[in-house]
């Protein structure tokens, strides 16, 4: 069974990573990084701050709810999460399943590429931020910039603004942003896993995209009406923001462990739940 599972995973990896959909990823990374870079560059000038770094672009991007949730999460889901539903619609799933020997193998072969894609997607976003940052005038220095540290300069026309959690003065910004990317990858993977499980029950290829937009949209609407602090505990898009865990940036920060637990439970629960559902559904 292991042999078939590995062979299936290899095929699904090839299908996913040689897909032209990654062109959309490239575009979105570029657009998101440019928007984030413009935002901090403008602020740096107005606040009379010193040079900003390419890592500031990434940190700012990762805490922009619109860019992360609407643009990046939706693009990731469209790239990596509709394959089970699409294969069942086209009945390619049948061709694969009769070879896999069992439904579990097929399911695992769908999960693994999605998990890898979440890491690759975040790596791509980090790469785009570095490229766009360099092109836009940012430095490659791994020391925290004045912008990152929330420095206040006299004579500035704007008050200080924290785009993300200020790092320690001796922090390595590259390491910090790699960590942030991995955190986002976990969050994206967990949400993607939930959507994959959803498509086991409802195998419609348009559903993942709609679900990704829906998660963010519904959260936005609910957040207008619900101002209680408990809502931040159940809001998945809010948990994606790194700054949501920082007492410096928000009044009522979420413990980081609670988010790690939330994503892990969602990821593992959806994987097991999807497997259980797949056992019973007509493919």
């Amino acid at each position: 069974m292991m042999r078939q599972t590995f062979a299936l995973i290899r095929i699904e990896l090839a299908r996913l990573f040689f897909s032209r959909r990654w062109m959309a990823g490239l575009l979105i990374w570029g657009v998101a990084a440019k928007l984030a870079a413009d935002e901090i560059a403008g602020h740096v000038v107005a606040a009379h701050l010193g040079k900003w770094t390419v890592y500031d672009v990434h940190a700012a991007l990762m805490n922009n709810a619109f860019l992360v949730c609407f643009l990046m999460l939706t693009t990731f889901v469209l790239i990596a999460c509709d394959s089970p539903a699409r294969d069942r619609e086209t009945r390619f799933a049948h061709v694969m399943m009769v070879r896999s020997g069992g439904r579990l193998q097929w399911w695992v072969a769908k999960i693994v590429p999605m998990l890898l894609a979440s890491v690759v997607f975040q790596a791509g976003a980090l790469g785009a931020c570095i490229a766009v940052g360099v092109y836009g005038g940012g430095t490659l220095s791994r020391e925290p910039s004045e912008l990152a540290l929330g420095t206040v300069k006299e004579g500035a026309s704007v008050s200080t603004q924290l785009f993300f959690t200020p790092p320690a003065r001796d922090a390595d910004m590259l390491v910090r942003e790699v960590g942030t990317s991995l955190y986002l990858a976990l969050g994206f993977a967990a949400i993607g896993m939930g959507i994959l499980a959803l498509t086991v029950r409802y195998p419609l290829s348009w559903l993942p995209g709609l679900a990704a937009v829906g998660v963010t949209l519904v959260d936005r609407i609910l957040s207008w009406f619900i101002h209680a602090s408990w809502y931040s505990w159940v809001s998945l898009p809010y948990r994606l923001m790194e700054a949501a865990h920082s007492a410096v940036v928000v009044d009522d920060p979420l413990p980081l462990w609670s988010s790690l637990l939330c994503w892990t439970v969602l990821l593992v629960g959806s994987a097991i739940g999807g497997a259980r559902m797949l056992r019973d559904v007509d493919v």
Partner: protein, 315 residues
Amino acid sequence: MNETIFDTTTSVPERSKVAGPLIDVRGVGKIYGSTTVLEDVAMTVRPGEVVGLVGPNGAGKTTLIRILSGMSRPSRGEGTVLGRDITATTGRVPFMGLMVERPMFIETLNARRNLELLFSIRGVVDGSTACDVLERVGLDPSERKAVRTYSLGMRQRLSLAQAIGERPALVVLDEPTNGLDPLGIVEMRGLVRELADRDGMGVLLTSHLLAEVEAVCDRVVLMHGGRARRVYAPGDADSRSTMVLEVAEPSDIERAACITALEVIGREGPLRMRVKVHECVPDVIRALVGAGVGIEAIYRDGNGLERAYMEAVGE
């Protein structure tokens, strides 16, 4: 009982070594909500046998194929496919060749690469098999074009190649002649017979082309309204004894009807009738000539399945 999600205790799905029938199911039914789409279907497919499934759209053919291939569980019924219980909840899928309607592949790769990847999953054939089987279905193994540029006919051939390449004991072909040109249909017919006669595979196929089904199948299950209405065997004695007799004059019809060696079962115009012959054909011809019947032609009825189909669907 503490049931596991999936049975993973069995290792690599081996090519079936089932001694008896490859497919042996009884009373199979499928209900979606309050709609019954399949009811009380029984079917047997043995090694070396080609069995057809025909019926109008919505007759339940595809549902039955899904159940037999392990993609769907029946609401009722029992039986085995390649020794696997069709009601099992283990999530295991039998090792068969499956050709689906409107086949999709890894669109950016060529045919050969697609087959190599698909065959790598089971790992039961070597690398040269992809080329061999592509040649066998009439595709060029050296073709470098991506599958996305293929016509429906080429996709059908490729789909057949992936189904038979690993030489499974059982092959299920859903509408294999879809999109094929006349030559392709003839080639497909020959290939299907070869799979059964030379390779000893059991073949279950569906098609709307009744003449093709009649030409290639040993038995045909006629389905309508989710039920198997009748099993027609093109080669059995009853089918073989039905002939068409064409005569020179209308009065010959009356003379022919008086001969005991045959029985008129239907008239088709003033000079043609369908008859069931009770003796060997030369004896029947001698009797007709002796009775003064002007024979223009006598031949085996090639539309037996069509008639059976019309009777089965009630038209």
